[in-house]
């Protein structure tokens, strides 16, 4: 069921910069472009801004090709800082 928020997942350095791994980010029913949400995140968490500049973004499990893509209520939006597995 669509809630009136986007679920934002924050991994690795993004989690460290915000102090949380997951946020419910309120959006209007029509949604907002990903770049708008990123601007709002950077404003709320200034320490997150440098990480966002080197991250990739994943909407509902798929990499986002364009930051103009609209995120709608119920979407999952993940911030992927550079990977470090192994």
């Amino acid at each position: 069921m669509a809630r009136e928020s986007v679920t934002v997942l924050l991994f690795g350095p993004a989690r460290q910069a915000t102090g949380t791994g997951e946020l419910a980010w309120p959006v209007s029913l029509g949604g907002i472009p990903a770049q708008t949400l990123l601007r709002e995140l950077a404003r709320r968490f200034p320490r997150l801004a440098p990480t966002l500049r080197v991250s990739r973004f994943v909407r509902n499990g798929r990499y986002l090709a364009r930051l103009s893509t609209r995120l709608r209520p119920g979407d999952e939006f993940a911030v992927h800082p550079p990977y470090g597995g192994g």
Partner: protein
């Protein structure tokens, strides 16, 4: 073929069994272990691994297929652990079984390099066992065990 993301310890002997098959004479395994590096807040005693499960599994399955096509790997292991791992624990096992060893070396090297570069896994250093409550970890896979 074997892709696995788990919160439990990884076993190289289980990986060897997964890499068994008739005609597979060369098996190469890579195991990554937590190193006691010196972090900004002192010597690392543990790492916390987080994984974004859905895209990670998709990418690992792509890598399996690539190892088969490019190197003739008939068995592949791509296992990664998540949660809190102490120094010395095995974080990942990557391996390939092929008819000949040159292919198995090339496939395993390819798989670990690609895993590091292209699979959504992150590690965070822990300088010493923390007593204070930590930030709530990301959901899906990857919650800290400690």
């Amino acid at each position: 073929m074997s892709v696995r993301l788990t919160g439990h310890p990884l076993s190289v002997s289980a990986a060897m069994r997964a890499l068994s098959g008739r005609g597979l004479g060369g098996v190469v395994l890579f195991a990554g272990r937590v190193r006691p590096d010196l972090g900004p807040s002192g010597p690392v005693v543990a790492l916390v691994y987080e994984i974004h499960e859905m895209p990670a599994l998709r990418r690992l399955r792509e890598l399996e297929g690539a190892a088969r096509r490019r190197f003739g790997a008939e068995r592949v292991v791509l296992w990664h652990r998540f949660g809190r791992l102490k120094v010395g624990e095995v974080s990942a096992i990557v391996g390939a079984a092929c008819a000949h060893r040159a292919q198995a070396f090339a496939a395993t090297r390819y798989l670990i390099e690609e895993l590091k570069a292209s699979v959504p896994i992150w590690k965070t250093e822990r300088a010493r066992p923390s007593r204070r409550p930590r930030p709530r970890p990301s959901r899906r896979v990857g919650r800290s065990a400690g």
